[in-house]
Amino acid sequence: MTDALIIGFSSLGTLFIFLAAVGVLRMPDLYLRISVTTKAATLGISLVLIAVAIYFDDLSITTRVSAIVVFMFLTAPVGAHMLGRASYFAGVQLWVKTRHDDLKGKYTPNHHLHSKEEVDRDEEEALK
């Protein structure tokens, strides 16, 4: 029974990691690649680590494993968001077939922390 659980969880996790690898190679765009990395790989790692926790069946190891899983679940979206944001402001192009871009026209290249209206207002105040 335990063996079947270990084999099942590790197989599922490895399948997800493999799909993430294929996705990162085949996706046409940086942002789609980030999307694949942050979802599929996190799920796959969590399943493999659950298999490890079932195999050792020890409280200290289960605690360690859940620490890693919680850490991955917390950091993967943060890192992906920071990277996507920085790449967007650095001018990485979207895929040609992208339907719409929510951030288009809302930011200016040099004042990327503010919206365009705020930048215009700041410049008007500076002129006064």
């Binding site: 493999f18 690898a21 940086l30 190891i61 360690r64 890693i68 920085a86 790449s87 650095a90």
Partner: protein, 90 residues
């Protein structure tokens, strides 16, 4: 088929194949951002390989190294994102 044989002959080769596929993207990646994404995925897959290896060798201390590796991967991604944002390098 025992768990050890299954992990050694099926799971580890598939993970190694994933690492090779990700590494081709790391070499091809047209921009710096693509390379950082694949680097992050390489580190994540490395955590998985270490976890499987700790089952095969029956050595739980490997999991500590997996935790540290996940931490370093996150710090590397954040540092590279900061670098891209400051230098506006694609």
């Amino acid at each position: 088929m025992s768990v050890h044989n299954y992990l050694y002959f099926i799971i580890l080769p598939v993970l190694m194949l994933s690492v090779l596929i990700i590494f081709t993207r790391f070499l091809k990646g047209p921009r710096l951002s693509d390379r950082i994404v694949s680097f992050d995925l390489l580190i994540t897959t490395g955590v998985g390989i270490i976890a499987v290896y700790s089952i095969i060798t029956n050595q739980p201390p490997f999991l500590d190294i997996a935790l540290i590796m996940a931490l370093i991967g996150f710090l590397g991604t954040v540092a590279f994102a900061f670098y891209i944002e400051k230098t506006k390098k694609k």
